[in-house]
């Protein structure tokens, strides 16, 4: 799927199928015992509640005319007891269902989030983050009631219908047929409405997703918006998305509410038919009493159908969300452990590219038949024009993508045959964007190694020259920073990210323009620490600063789908090739 934008509806790839319901059923099955208990309790409560009218009727017919006061008091007491029992049953049932509803939501959200962790970052690159967020939080929240009480009530109403149908058939098969005649009409309405109803709820989920995506991005980019004085225009865009959402919501309401309107009217036609046909046509063969009884039953037959119609509307709404959730859960994991993947044993840090071919889209190769070997402890600088594939080379070592040909080996182990966790936990990768999580600075650095002691954190910070500014902050290492890291300057963020990587104590270190925002002087100091850091580790460094590049053991010039020059600084300078030109260009400028 091509990259998605905030104002593009996500097309739903899968058609509606009952497999969605079945899959939802899996989540409910886990709570089968509680569901069945709840059903039983509901049935018992209903039966107990039936006793009430009987007691009242008995009192009216017998006790009161007989002026039997003690019996009246007794019957009242019995009535009270039935009420208490029925309320107790209902309470327990509702408590159970509240728990089930929350548990189901918890389970679905957990599975969804867990799966998202397995997806490669391409998935996140291809769509606005707000759309992913909406699925995890709001779509899932919308399901709690439907998948707990909704299902119980649905089952109960079905039983109600069956129960009353049997009653009716036993009373008068002929008149029952009249009552049932309304059912096909109802089904016809459902069939007519359903496609529009389903589409409208899907639209609602699309439009809310679009709106949230735009909102999310606007919040993140507020500074740029203000700087470029775009507030008015953005307001217009948001206003349109907001309106679209409202319109689709209203449409869904217009359509969805037709259902109960139809049921109510059909039900009254059935009653009318009972009276008319019963009295005017069938009358001698059926008694007036029977007709009256049947109209009462008809009302009680259609009430559950009305309830089901309302439940159904909620179901269609929930399914629109479920479809999206399952779609995300079905998103294929492109980079995953091979079925027979082994743990990568502790490595020395030898890296071999063996005839590696790679393309992002399967058609245009970024790298072609690339082979090289880097020895343990060597430091490699990757240089070359922007977009030539420097970042791609290092991303392949961490197996962020699968190869189209050849193999990448660490200490002779093909990285596609080892577990991702054992592979990546031996590498330290510092990316262009330093992400800071909200929490303390200490937490952020410990992200590199969760069990590191505070002392180790401090030492790592000293090595990367981050200790000074951290200690100057009002709460030192315990200073709270937030997701945007706005309390820290860009250079400071990079230092924190650096300390985090160092703490991970990786065998292979990858620095992807990791020090670009650190000032020259700090970098110089950093260099000392860096030299120590590089000791005993294989490292790949992408940088533009000469001092950084020059210090490396070997320099690889990446261009033309491969490495065109490789050697020490001196060797490459002597060669008078691309590197020489790159280097002298910078010198002339000084």
């Amino acid at each position: 799927m091509a990259r998605n934008k905030f104002d593009q509806d996500e097309t739903l790839e899968t058609p509606f199928s009952f497999s969605h319901l079945k899959r939802a059923g899996k989540y409910i099955k886990r709570h089968a015992r509680r569901m069945i208990t709840a059903l039983t309790l509901s049935a018992l409560a209903a039966i107990t509640a039936l006793l009430g009218p009987k007691i009242i009727q008995y009192a009216l017919d017998n006790t009161i005319p007989a002026k039997n006061v003690p019996q009246l008091i007794l019957l009242s007491a019995v009535l009270l007891v039935t009420i208490i029992i029925s309320v107790a049953f209902t309470t327990i049932r509702s408590r159970l269902m509240t728990r089930v509803g929350q548990d189901v939501v918890y389970d679905i959200r957990k599975d969804l989030f867990d799966h998202l962790q397995d997806l490669s970052f391409e998935y996140y690159d291809d769509r606005p983050h707000g759309k992913i967020l909406t699925r995890i939080v709001h779509y899932v929240n919308n399901l709690s009631d439907t998948l707990s009480n909704g299902i119980i009530n649905f089952v109960l109403e079905i039983f109600n219908i069956l129960f009353i149908s049997i009653f009716m058939l036993a009373t008068s098969p002929k008149l029952s047929l009249l009552v049932f005649a309304g059912v096909p009409v109802f089904l016809l309405v459902v069939i007519l409405i359903k496609p529009a109803q389903r589409r409208s709820w899907q639209q609602v989920s699309n439009k809310s997703s679009n709106m949230n995506a735009y909102l999310h991005e606007s919040l993140d980019g507020a500074k740029i918006t203000q700087l470029f004085v775009r507030e008015e225009e953005n307001k217009g865009i948001f206003g349109r998305l907001n309106k679209n959402y409202r319109d689709t919501w209203m449409k869904a309401q217009y359509i969805g509410n037709l259902l109960w309107v139809s049921v109510d009217n059909i039900s009254v036609w059935v009653t009318a038919a009972l009276y008319l046909i019963g009295v005017l046509v069938l009358q001698p063969s059926v008694s007036f009493g029977l007709i009256f009884a049947m109209t009462t039953y008809a009302t009680r037959f259609w009430q559950p159908i009305l309830n089901i119609a309302n439940l159904y509307n909620n179901f269609v709404n929930s399914i629109a969300y479920l479809e999206r959730i399952f779609e995300t859960m079905d998103e294929p994991v492109t980079v995953s452990d091979a079925p027979d993947a082994k743990e990568l044993p502790p490595i020395t840090g030898q890296v071999t590219f063996d005839h590696v071919t790679f393309s992002y889209d399967g058609s245009k190769n970024i790298l072609e038949d690339l082979s090289f070997t880097v020895n343990p402890g060597e430091s490699i600088a990757l240089v070359g024009p922007t977009g030539a594939g420097k970042t791609t080379v290092v991303n392949l070592i961490s197996r962020f993508y699968n190869l189209n040909g050849g193999a990448v080996r660490l200490d002779g182990h093909d990285i596609s045959k080892v577990t991702l966790h054992s592979l990546r936990s031996q590498m330290g990768i510092m990316l262009q964007d330093s992400v800071i999580f909200s929490g303390t600075i200490l937490d952020n650095i410990k992200y590199g190694r969760l069990d590191a002691t505070d002392e180790e954190v401090r030492r790592a910070c000293e090595t990367v020259c981050a200790n000074e500014f951290i200690e100057q902050m009002e709460r030192g290492y315990y200073t709270e920073v937030n997701e945007r890291g706005s309390r820290l300057s860009q250079g400071q963020k990079q230092l924190v990210a650096f300390a985090r990587t160092l703490l991970a104590d990786p065998k292979i270190l990858i620095l992807d323009e990791a020090t670009s925002s650190i000032d020259a002087k700090t970098e110089r100091q950093l260099q000392k620490g860096l030299n120590e850091l590089l000791k005993g580790r294989t490292s790949f460094i992408i940088a533009h600063r000469l001092s950084t590049i020059k210090n490396c053991d070997r320099i690889m010039y990446v261009s033309n789908k491969g490495i065109t020059e490789c050697g020490t600084h001196d060797e490459l300078m002597a060669k008078h090739g691309d590197y020489y030109h790159l280097y002298t260009a910078q010198l002339q400028d000084l």
Partner: protein
């Protein structure tokens, strides 16, 4: 109630249709009683029959057809009325929510950077989605149902009173108990809903940060750690929400039993009254069937109060956003200037202190004449970015003043000022839009040629090589592009508004040397006059500046041209030596 008044204010434009809809509820509820009345007549007139003069029951079959038609019409009317009511309420609630969303969006767009430092995206998202939905639910459903129940309750009571006052009062004796229990519940459930709302906001933030940091998560193979972290938030929310929802079932048995015991009272007291001849059988029958109608509003009260508490928890959060006011705003007497600024910038003894007490800038004074290039260098965290942020009023100076074109920036119309400033910030933020849309962000009407021209100036020609060229969609925050590519697009975006003042905050740190050189050349040869502020680490970038400022701990420690600074001991010469050291040594070997 403040929150209700606030809602009423925002109901503007929908007030009439909303109130009309609520009035229709009265009509609809009235019609609900019509069907039983017609049925009653059918039973009396047709099924049972009416006694004639001689006492025989006579069935009026001729009345059946009109009655049946009335029944159908009454139902049709009733459903039509309720359908209209629901749609009117939905429309009004959507209207309010839409107005609020538009307003909040606009309000948030105008907030200071302080606001964005304080509030987490996940939490803000939560307010505009979950909390907003609670407001919708309140208007579309809660208010309507409360009204329906009040009508039902009052109607039934009035009917009871007409029949037997004493009996009615006995029935009503239960109401105070229900009232006491429900209000106690309502008081206790409020904090629980606020807590569960907080937990949801936490969960939202957790998910949001995980998505934003997905590369780091993968780089450190921290997927399991993230799962655990999220699981805790997921669990906390589930538990909090369960606790809030379960509390109701603590009170429900009492309330429900009390409500249902109305039938017991009816039976007992009504029975006794009948035995003593105070009530007729027909009256008691009517009473006992209506006792259920009376019980319904009582049992609904708890549920509705529960929802109302949730509404209060949510609306409080939205109101907070609604009334959030930025401190950096136009003064009432601000000066507008539609024509181009000349670009003169003067700092007069400027200081900047953050709310946490950190002094970021101290007594900064310097002048940039129109067309000059000012380079700013200094250690990480020395205040370089803060300094340039003051020019565009992203923050306001806490001491001294920043003048642009001879006037304090606080006195200019903020938009007019910013339209003259092109800034490429350090943390490059691109929107998930096309390359074209990103470059033309400051002026959406920009022609394609112009976009290409500025892209070329910023050395962003790599765009041409992309398959879809300028129509290529960029992922959020510019993912998919290298750091250098992002910086160049951001630079093109800043240049494209032809600013009188151009601010480049470390804009070329991730581009290679050759590209950098090209960009420097473009900047020297811009087709429009422009004062430039350049924050950079490389001497090659800064050496041709008219003035170089060296910052240290928020103060200017050195100031001068390249040659002047080279002749002094200090930061600049150190850097120069550092950078040329490696270079000259290499050059020696290279030759």
């Amino acid at each position: 109630m403040f929150q209700l008044r606030w809602i009423w204010k925002n109901l503007k434009g929908y007030r009439f249709s909303y109130i009309f809809g609520l009035c229709l509820v009265l009509v609809g509820s009235g019609l609900t009683l019509v069907n039983p009345m017609i049925t009653q007549r059918i039973v009396d007139q047709v099924i049972t029959g009416v006694p004639d003069a001689s006492g025989h029951l006579v069935r009026h079959l001729d009345q059946l057809v009109p009655l049946v038609i009335a029944l159908i019409l009454a139902t049709l009317t009733r459903t039509a009325v309720f359908y209209t009511v629901i749609m009117l309420c939905e429309r009004a609630s959507q209207g309010v929510v839409r107005t609020l969303r538009d307003y909040l969006y606009q309000n948030m767009q105008q907030q200071d950077m302080d606001f964005y430092d304080k509030n987490r995206t996940g939490d803000l998202m939560n307010r505009l989605t979950g909390d907003m939905d609670m407001i919708r639910h309140t208007l579309a459903w809660i208010v309507r149902v409360i009204l329906e129940n009040v009508v039902l309750f009052v109607g039934t009571i009035v009917y009871f009173l007409t029949v037997d006052v004493v009996f009615t009062l006995v029935l009503l004796a239960i109401t105070p108990f229900i009232y006491v229990v429900t209000t106690r519940f309502s008081k206790r459930v409020g904090p629980l809903h606020r807590d569960s709302r907080e937990k949801l906001s936490d969960l939202n933030t957790g998910a949001q940060e995980n998505i934003a940091g997905n590369r780091v998560v993968r780089a450190f193979a921290r997927e399991d750690f993230e799962r655990e972290k999220f699981d805790e938030k997921n669990r906390n929310y589930r538990d909090a929400s369960m606790k809030a929802n379960l509390l109701w079932f603590h009170y429900y048995p009492v309330i429900e039993s009390l409500a249902q015991s109305l039938t017991v009272v009816t039976l007992l007291v009504g029975g006794l009254f009948m035995i003593y001849g105070r009530l007729t059988a027909g009256e008691l029958l009517a009473f006992s069937s209506l006792a259920g109608t009376l019980a319904n509003p009582m049992r609904m009260m708890g549920m509705l109060l529960n929802d109302l508490q949730r509404f209060f928890a949510s609306s409080a959060k939205i109101i907070e956003l609604y009334y959030a006011r930025p401190t950096i705003v136009n003064r009432y007497d601000c000066v507008e200037k539609k024509e181009r600024f000349s670009g003169r910038v003067e700092f007069k003894d400027v200081s900047l202190k953050f709310r946490n007490g950190a002094e970021v800038l101290k007594h900064i004074s310097f002048t940039a004449e129109p067309g000059q290039t000012i380079a700013i260098m200094g250690n990480t965290g020395s205040g370089k970015t803060s300094l340039v942020n003051l020019i565009a009023r992203l923050y306001d100076a806490t001491g001294g003043e920043v003048d642009v074109d001879g006037l304090n920036v606080k006195l200019w119309d903020k938009s007019d000022l910013r339209k003259n400033i092109g800034m490429a910030t350090q943390d490059v933020f691109l929107f998930s839009d096309t390359v074209d849309g990103n470059i033309a962000y400051g002026d959406s009407d920009m022609s394609e040629e112009d976009v290409k021209y500025y892209a070329h100036l910023a050395a962003a020609d790599f765009i041409d090589k992309m398959e879809q060229g300028y129509d290529t969609l960029i992922g959020e925050r510019g993912v998919g592009l290298s750091g250098g590519q992002k910086q160049r697009i951001a630079l093109a975006r800043a240049l494209a508004i032809k600013p009188a003042i151009l601010i480049l905050d470390d804009t070329t740190s991730a581009v290679d040397m050759e590209t950098e050189k090209f960009i420097q050349k473009s900047l020297r040869e811009l087709s429009f006059p422009c004062t430039k502020f350049i924050i950079a680490q490389r001497i090659s970038t800064t050496k041709s500046a008219d003035k170089i400022l060296i910052l240290k701990d928020g103060e200017i420690v050195q100031c001068g041209t390249h040659d002047e600074l080279l002749s002094q001991e200090g930061f600049y010469r150190e850097i120069y030596e550092l950078q040329s050291d490696g270079a000259s040594a290499a050059q020696g070997k290279g030759e």
